[in-house]
Symmetry: C4
Subunit: 204 residues, 4 copies
């Protein structure tokens, strides 16, 4: 009754929906890193101001996950169908996305402490793993046009491949400057997200 094509379209839709769920949950769980500062013995307003690094880290992670969601969505619009290998690679990507609320809490909790460098290594390192998993996922789809839609030209595919390299390269920079300044490292992560927020618009 159901055609092969419809089942394949359903597979793609379900993979997108599962990924969307994980993106949406991870982005919302970020809020659990914010705490009522009133127990620390300062006034509420002073306590919230002292927590500025938690807000900065939350906003950076939120925007990064949001832009990832947008681009994930965009990537899937170039894919004709999903297979199990793609689903597994996508799963590895989601594993590192799920870690983001944890690495965000680490960097937020240590940004003003002596070990800010270590915290920024954890934070930017996680985004480096995300960037690598992302490129592995895309190259799996694009190699020999394995899973690409017919209407995606080779030139388009090459442009995307090039653009996706900015994330791992940028993350390596963020990782490298972690020991100098945790704050600068997080700012580089935010800049990478801004890059994709702008360049990713080719499809619209």
């Amino acid at each position: 009754m159901e055609t092969v094509g419809s089942r394949e379209a359903q597979d793609t839709a379900r993979t997108e929906a599962f990924s969307d769920g994980v993106f949406a949950f991870a982005i919302t769980l970020l809020v659990l890193n914010l705490r009522d500062p009133s127990t620390s013995g300062v006034s509420l307003s002073q306590g919230l101001i002292n927590e500025w690094q938690s807000f900065f880290a939350l906003v950076t992670s939120f925007i990064t996950i949001l832009v990832m969601w947008l681009n994930h969505h965009n990537m899937f619009s170039h894919i004709d169908r999903v297979d199990r290998r793609l689903m597994l690679r996508n799963g590895i990507l989601l594993l590192f996305v799920v870690l983001t609320p944890f690495t965000t809490s680490i960097v937020a909790g240590h940004m003003t402490l002596p070990d800010a460098g270590t915290a920024a290594v954890v934070y930017s390192g996680n985004f480096l793993f995300i960037a690598i998993a992302w490129n592995v996922l895309w190259r799996y789809c694009a190699k020999g046009r394995r899973l690409l839609r017919e209407d995606v030209t080779d030139a388009e595919a090459r442009t995307i491949t090039r653009q996706y390299l900015v994330a791992p390269l940028g993350s390596v920079v963020a990782l490298a400057i972690s020991s100098i300044s945790g704050l600068a490292s997080v700012t580089v992560v935010l800049a990478i997200a801004a890059f994709y927020a702008i360049t990713g618009s080719h499809g619209d």
Copy 2:
């Protein structure tokens, strides 16, 4: 195989689904602000009564997010398609929605304390940002009928634009009276939600 129209419809559906996920998740996370009061050395029933402000804040936030979800849904029924700029603006809106469980815990934890005013500033301030992000989102869609559906008349669009102004104006009121009474400020937020619960019904 897939037409441009169908991909666009899919984009809209996926943006709605992602937003719904964040709304549903944020609304459910509110429950984590409620705590077993028994460790505070009073009886369970007395402890729960003492926590009345947590319940009041939870119900206010729940109803506000619920009505926002209803209206978000309604707004999207006027939109023909989504583009990347809309998705980014929608993302900013969701950022402030995600903060709601945190600001709710702040106002609930301080409503009966001397710094209730500061807490109410945080709470109503977050809803002010939500209201601004909401208006930015709608005006982006409505400007020059950029993303509106053909069957939405100019008069309808103007009515919606006017109605959406109640939220930022009301939130400014809530913010202004924060320093006088935290409880009154939260009540204004609840009144705004009630306004939209009633007026938003034009579409049905």
Copy 3:
């Protein structure tokens, strides 16, 4: 392009999806009530056995929410379309569903303590509110066949109305015996869920 019918079908689908999201999140958040007992100075196995009431409360709440999800699903299969009033009533129902992880933690934490009765009042009281909200929702749809599908007979609608009365009546019983035995009260809640798990099967 889109017909009125298709938009209405979409509204119904989105309301169901939002409700499903809240049911799924609330059911999963129940797990956060379980704690590693090893800090309480007993062995891990003894600690887990001492936590039996947490598991019992979790299973009871899980099964109740699961059966509610099934019946919610079933209720919506009798509904032709949703309107805003239905969405608001549905939202009130979800508010009490969202409270379930909290009331479950209360009853789990106090079942073996002197104030087990108070805890059971909170727990069964929440389910009573759920049952009332549920009946209000259904009666709104069924009154004068307001939102019913054409193929639902009046006899079917009356049967459902009668069946839905078991939940509020049973919850009143659970509430009434709370002061005698918290455990018995939770068992009645579980029995109500079992009733609906069985009788609800008429549709299949």
Copy 4:
């Protein structure tokens, strides 16, 4: 207006979506088991290294739930329609899936302590229950081809029945060696997931 077939397809879709929600949410909640180790009096980097068993347990649970999601998806592609009994059996399966973040935190918190064996019993025992619930679910569908799609051959169904036996048998092994080595027990759970990640690919 709506045909019976379309309602049935919708039922199946909604059951899959609810299950996907629980899978996606449970997989994301795993991150809450990770804690900032800096309060334990060691440096951040040392603290994170000391937490290796938390990461190992998280990765094992993540991959297991991910592969379960993939196979759940695959199982449903063989099912023609869902009925209430299937939904209840599916619910029992989800109950044990929801417990995974808890059992993961238990095994992560005790892997290097004397009671690692007890913790591994809890962890592998939960996966044994999952495996049993899974087999019960599948056998309910496959018995006398009750809910199977017409295009699924008897040989295919038998192959799946055989493959699904690996999980309970493997979990019994994981359970049996728990008392010898908690780490070995978790590794067996990971090996079972790897088995399904590979063999499950028949459908693609």
